[in-house]
Amino acid sequence: MTSIRLRQVSKTFGDKTVIPPLDLEIAGGEFVVFVGPSGCGKSTLLRLIAGLEEISGGTIEIDGRDVSQAPPAERGLAMVFQSYALYPHMSVAENIGFPLKMAGVPKAAIAGKVAEAANRLNLTELLERRPSQLSGGQRQRVAIGRAIVRAPKAFLFDEPLSNLDAALRAGMRIEIAELHRQLGTTMIYVTHDQVEAMTMADTIVVLNKGRIEQIGSPLEIYNTPANLFVAQFIGSPTMNILRGPAADALGAPVIGIRPEHLAIVPAAGNGTDDGLPGIAALSEHLGSDTFVHVRLNEGATVNARVTGEFRIDRGAPVVVVPERAHLHRFTANGEALRI
């Protein structure tokens, strides 16, 4: 159960600061997901931990040992890359056995461990193939095999599923989560896909411009976003934001409401005062749900999630009613207001 601790770790490229000094502690056995928009520094942070990039300041400790200066191989971590980075001139067996060979493990022992890893990942039939003869999902499994074979202290995943098609991605997500459950090893997983973050993580670290915006369990992050950035980044479709008088009326300079916390009622004959009047615009019918876009009279456009059977004509006057209990209140500069 390996813990990883970053203290005041920073990274600059020339005079450009990619990651201002940050602290982060990852407990042993945790599945941590770094999530954020592209360019937020999540991959850089992972590569700093891996030792593929040199840190510009601070220290990285793995199990209490300062590894800030250690080359990647000495950190005892394994990494799965976005492009899988399989060695194209080696067979699957040689790919999986390569880290062991580098570590000087005797041939017989390598064969045993490779067979074991292959068995776990359903690769036994493919051991003699070259990477070019494998499908994307199979390559991904070989990359994972190469990572698990040397029993690393922690796994690092750098957007491992982004090259797979949607169906495979869902399958691999489950496989990786299952792997984590079986091995119990610490895993750090980088993605820009919030669905992956929500479904796989024990802990989500939301990054933006090299800074940590929030750390928490998926539901914590979803239900109590620390600020406007997190609120809008997590959740699909994105949270609706109200400003100005409409927000003031609801008790904060900025109000966030998730689409599922809005109800739509016809405008005519509705006497309630907490509704926001507007005009129905586009309706997106997904089958199970319908997303109705409503242009509010005060200017903003909001998106409401209603049932799949819901029908409303474009241009019809409606009133949007937010659930009071699920309002997210923010200060003018985007920090969450906790009451």
Binding site: R47, A50, G51, L52, P71, P72, A73, L77, A78, M79, F81, Q82, S83, A85, L86, Y87, P88, H89, F98, P99, M102, A103, R146
Partner: protein
């Protein structure tokens, strides 16, 4: 392309005519060379030469191989071109790695600039100082003289070509190797070179052909028949009073074989080599 039927016929005809003409233009000298090589002396020295060989013979080849220094020249060329190629490629691998991975370092940029400039300096202009240098080193008429010179002139080309192949190897592969406990040298030897093997071979063949074909330095720096390479050797062959054209063409055929074989291999890399600036006319 969108063309009318009439235009299409016309353009096909023109294309056909141009190609037939140029193929004949390009191939005929070789054909005639091959033809002469198999002719007995009586047919070679005929005032009414024909493509048809009345009594084909291997006697020219036999004469060249057994009764002339051809085999010595051939062996010298093999040694010089082979050693230069190995040395050129070995040095270029490291330079190209630096150029490919550390192109942002000023030391790399300086060396790269130097290589580009040096690639433009023609050998004739350096003939005298190089001759003097080699003479002062006591290396005249040695293999080493040609190997050193050929390496120098081929290293820039080989480096740019290899850099192109190395650039195509994803960085993640190197990072994966680093995670797996591979040192930089280990990565180059265990991953980079095997992965780029076809490109490496193409570069080597280009270097070999260039060394094999070189004439001037071989002519000037070697004065000892025992060390003479093939291209000056063949020219001296011709110069000896009564030219034996049968033997000369036979020698030419044999000398052309290695480059022709190499060429078959590199043909598909020609365009790549060209864009890397690695091919000189």
């Amino acid at each position: 392309m969108v063309v009318s039927a009439r235009h299409r016929t016309l353009s096909a005809l023109t294309t056909g005519f141009v190609l037939v003409f140029f193929v004949a233009f390009c191939v005929f000298p070789f054909l005639w060379m091959l033809d002469t090589a198999f002719k007995p002396a009586a047919e070679v020295f005929s005032t009414a030469p024909t493509l048809w060989i009345a009594s084909p013979t291997f006697s020219n080849f036999r004469a060249v191989v057994l009764e002339s220094p051809f085999l010595i020249y051939f062996g010298n060329s093999l040694i010089v071109a082979g050693v230069s190629t190995i040395l050129t490629v070995s040095l270029s691998v490291f330079a190209s790695y630096a150029m490919s991975r550390w192109s942002y370092l000023s030391v790399t940029q300086i060396v790269t600039g130097g290589l580009i400039v040096s690639q433009m300096i023609p050998g004739v202009l350096l003939l005298i100082p190089l001759y003097v240098l080699i003479r002062n080193m006591g290396l005249l008429s040695t293999y080493a003289a040609l190997v050193i010179v050929y390496c120098t002139f081929m290293v820039p080309l080989a480096s740019f070509m290899l850099k192109g192949f190395f650039d195509a190897v994803p960085r993640e592969l190197e990072e994966a190797a680093a995670m797996d406990g591979c040192s930089r040298l280990g990565f180059i030897l265990r991953i980079l070179l095997p992965v780029t093997l076809p490109g490496l071979m193409a570069t080597a063949v280009f270097a070999f052909i260039a060394a094999w074909n070189e004439f001037m330095f071989g002519y000037v720096l070697i004065n000892d028949d025992a060390r003479r390479t093939l291209t000056p050797g063949i020219m001296l062959f011709k110069g000896s009073h009564q030219t034996d054209w049968g033997s000369l063409t036979a020698a030419s055929v044999l000398a052309a074989v290695p480059v022709a074989l190499g060429f078959v291999y590199v043909q598909r890399f020609l365009i790549t080599g060209l864009t890397a600036g690695a091919v000189k006319g």
